[in-house]
Symmetry: C2
């Protein structure tokens, strides 16, 4: 940002002006967000066809760009920050998070090594220790013990890191050198998130060496089937090495029995990873901390503040009980990255804790969020979301047209109209196409099931009530047509 006459950079004055307009644009967006259809209603190609085929040769004004944002981009947005967004799991943001992330973009540090910005590493370590305490994690997951944590982009990358660390620990770090040999076996339930299957493929373990364990009536992993599978694989000369337990499955929010799985992992010396991507946040409330009971038996654990903790994407927190295994698995030290701090062994170099080398200063937004809300503020909003979901589940229970299809332990309600799969699918599509709200589906034992994920930052009781009315009224309307 130097002399405007000799270069093309945006001047500080221009940055101040456009930046403040952008802040106003975002504030206006949140004030008007309920006016947009939640699910974008454009057709394939609608956006692309309005964009030129080639990049502009000459500089364009910021006004031109923002004009295109408004006219071309906005119709193609599905509004994840709308209080009427009940789809998938949320990807929440919040004011302090946006501003923390803005500071990160402005500072523009790349924290691959401690030395390349000590604050980037040390703030991350400290804030993740705060989180360990907030979640009442065992001491072993803190940096002050043998473990520690790192911010990863997504639970997918965290699961891959866990699989890799487990693979190397089990094979005494030989797989990194010699490659996979097709004899390691991993275990998940048939409800575990698809990212673990993807990790197993990426890591060279092979999908055929991934056992999908059956679930009980609550859709939680069955321990007897897990142990049977392990024993059979051992008999077949294979090497069981990894179990992923889930706290809050994507489909229905089922909670696997951590204690029992942990004891089996202990007995057979398997790595136990806990994927609590969505629901982990609930454990900051003392009354919901029970969902992590048994975590003292785990080797690794991850959850996403970018889902339910008001911290914008991407922000996954990945905790390990023994950081030396993770570091030994993922460490590479070429000459051009050597430096005194690294060689002293006194610092963390987080590039050895994940797949990527480069990393942005993501702990800033997490720090901003935790300080802005305080632990009590975060608890308040989590408790409120769960209260609203339980209220919604109550409405479904007392309805004559709809059934609750799975337990709703926290903030996800799985339900279906009594009229069968085709009707439920039609109901979902009709409501989503009208734009007032957006929710999605899953399939449980062949049944097409509607999912209400009640966790968006700005959702309050009125939004949930209107959603329920909308669902009931649209169902009635469709029944008249049928």
């Amino acid at each position: 940002m130097i002399d405007k006459m000799t270069n093309y950079h945006m001047t500080p004055d221009e940055f101040r002006k456009q930046g403040k307009q952008m802040i106003d644009w975002i504030a206006d967006y949140y004030e008007n967000i309920e006016k947009y259809p939640v699910l974008s209603q454009v057709k394939s190609g609608d956006i692309k066809d309005q964009l030129p085929d080639s990049a502009p040769t000459e500089s364009e004004s910021f006004g031109q760009i923002m004009s295109d944002v408004n006219s071309i981009i906005m119709p193609g947005i599905t509004h994840w920050q709308s209080p009427d967004f009940f789809a998938y799991f949320p990807a929440n943001t919040s004011g302090p998070s946006i501003l923390g992330d803005l500071l990160s973009s402005g500072l523009g540090v790349q924290g691959m090594l401690w030395a390349t910005s000590p604050a980037c590493t040390e703030l991350e370590t400290r804030v993740l220790d705060w989180l360990a305490e907030m979640l009442q994690l065992p001491e072993k997951f803190k940096s002050t013990s043998d473990g520690g944590a790192v911010i990863q982009d997504t639970a997918s990358s965290a699961a891959l890191s866990a699989v890799l660390a487990a693979r190397e620990k089990k094979t005494n770090y030989q797989t990194n050198d010699s490659g996979c040999l097709g004899n390691l076996v991993a275990y998940i339930s048939n409800q575990t998130h698809s990212s673990v299957e993807k990790a197993i493929k990426i890591a060279g373990i092979g999908k055929n060496n991934l056992r999908l364990i059956g679930v009980d009536e609550n859709l939680a992993m069955r321990i007897d089937l897990l142990e049977n599978a392990i024993q059979k694989d051992l008999q077949d000369g294979l090497i069981p090495f990894f179990v992923c337990a889930t706290v809050g499955t994507t489909s229905t929010n089922a909670i696997d029995p951590l204690n029992e799985i942990g004891n089996i992992c202990l007995k057979y010396q398997l790595w136990m990873h806990i994927d609590a991507a969505m629901s982990g946040t609930a454990a900051i409330c003392p009354e919901y901390r029970y969902i992590l009971d048994g975590i003292e038996l785990a080797d690794s654990f991850s959850f996403n503040p970018h889902k339910w903790m008001f911290t914008n994407f991407d922000c996954n927190c990945f905790f390990v009980a023994d950081r030396s295994v993770l570091i030994k698995t993922l460490s590479i030290l070429p000459e051009y990255l050597k430096n005194q701090a690294t060689e002293s062994g006194a610092v963390f170099d987080y590039r050895d804790w994940h797949i990527q080398l480069g990393r942005r200063f993501r702990s800033l937004k997490l720090w901003f969020v935790i300080r802005h809300y305080g632990v009590n503020g975060l608890r308040y909003h989590i408790q409120e979301h769960i209260r609203l979901a339980q209220q919604f589940a109550g409405w479904v229970r007392s309805s004559e047209e709809f059934d609750l299809v799975a337990p709703a332990p926290l903030n996800l309600v799985c339900f279906a109209h009594k009229n069968g799969n085709d009707f439920n699918r039609k109901l979902l599509e009709t409501i989503n196409s009208r734009g007032k709200m957006y929710f999605t589906h899953t399939v449980i034992n062949g049944q097409f099931v509607l999912r209400m994920s009640i966790a968006q930052t700005n959702t309050n009781e009125e939004h949930v009530r209107q959603a329920w009315e909308n669902i009931q009224e649209t169902a009635k309307e469709l029944m008249d047509v049928y």
Copy 2:
């Protein structure tokens, strides 16, 4: 952002106020950035020790948080955006990029599927096609052909994706199912970035199946040695499957012979990946496009706008010639992600193009940058950086104390004082510890070599001249002491 009385969220008014102050904070930072020591001078633990052991129970004010940013965080920042940053490779940002990223944080969309924000997918596809044209890539890398591109976080993840696609193509997609069998072999030069070795380990190939091919006097991969290694592995019953060629190695900016490597890959049916993380950007200038000659033989190619194209981290662009191979390698489709658009086959779902499921709207910042600068503006700054680097190389050449240690084809100058390794190490540490500038080193054939990477957004002729004077004067001072 609803009623302040009933919740802890930041109100729109508060967001407007704090947001505008943050914009001013960032503009002030850039106006004063040369007053900071470029390399943070704190010691291990200095930052962490100033942060409380526990998260705050109650909400804290934004003023308190920003006060801690100034007093605790800032001393721990290594200033990557300083015009006196000549270390590693840059991780540049710019005004339009910061604002594009701010818009992305504000919109908070999660673009895992086309349907979850069509604009997120379609803008990305279009802008990457623009880049393909700007770089004069073969048609096959465009979305309008059989290929296409995706924004990944880093060149590490892109390299891993390339390795996986190559692995699956070579084994007819059997490795995803059956796991690795220890017989696939990959080839890189001994100058290739460490991320490729990391990818080979992650993918279950094994480091022992990675051949480090020797280099010529310009530190470029030797074709004769590559072909010899492939032939030997074939004789040994192994299966060569992957070569990574580099355009601009991290150590010295060496450029591997793409045409010759490509022909060997064609002959032996190996996947050819080109890693041009740093230097790829230069190819948008017609006079430097030659660095990509031979790319028509490649299967995949990646470069980082977050290095030299003024787009803040993270933004890697990964191009593939046949997107179906990549998608078939990385696709997973659980029930809860099914939707009409995906089932129609008419859209891209970018979560099938990389490791992660979730993704933020990163094409916004890239679009903002390209439009703000225009192609001519981007070329101007790239050309200027190369001109400054060539000038610096000229000064080294005509110096009696310093030698140029490697060719400087673009904007990286590798040089050393004639006084030997210990002296050069001392020179580097002394200069960096004084904070006026920051540069780093590499080792070439046992020689400790200084690296001047001249590519920071805000670096101009005066900064480079002062750096050279600083280096000369400090060397003189140290010689007096020695």
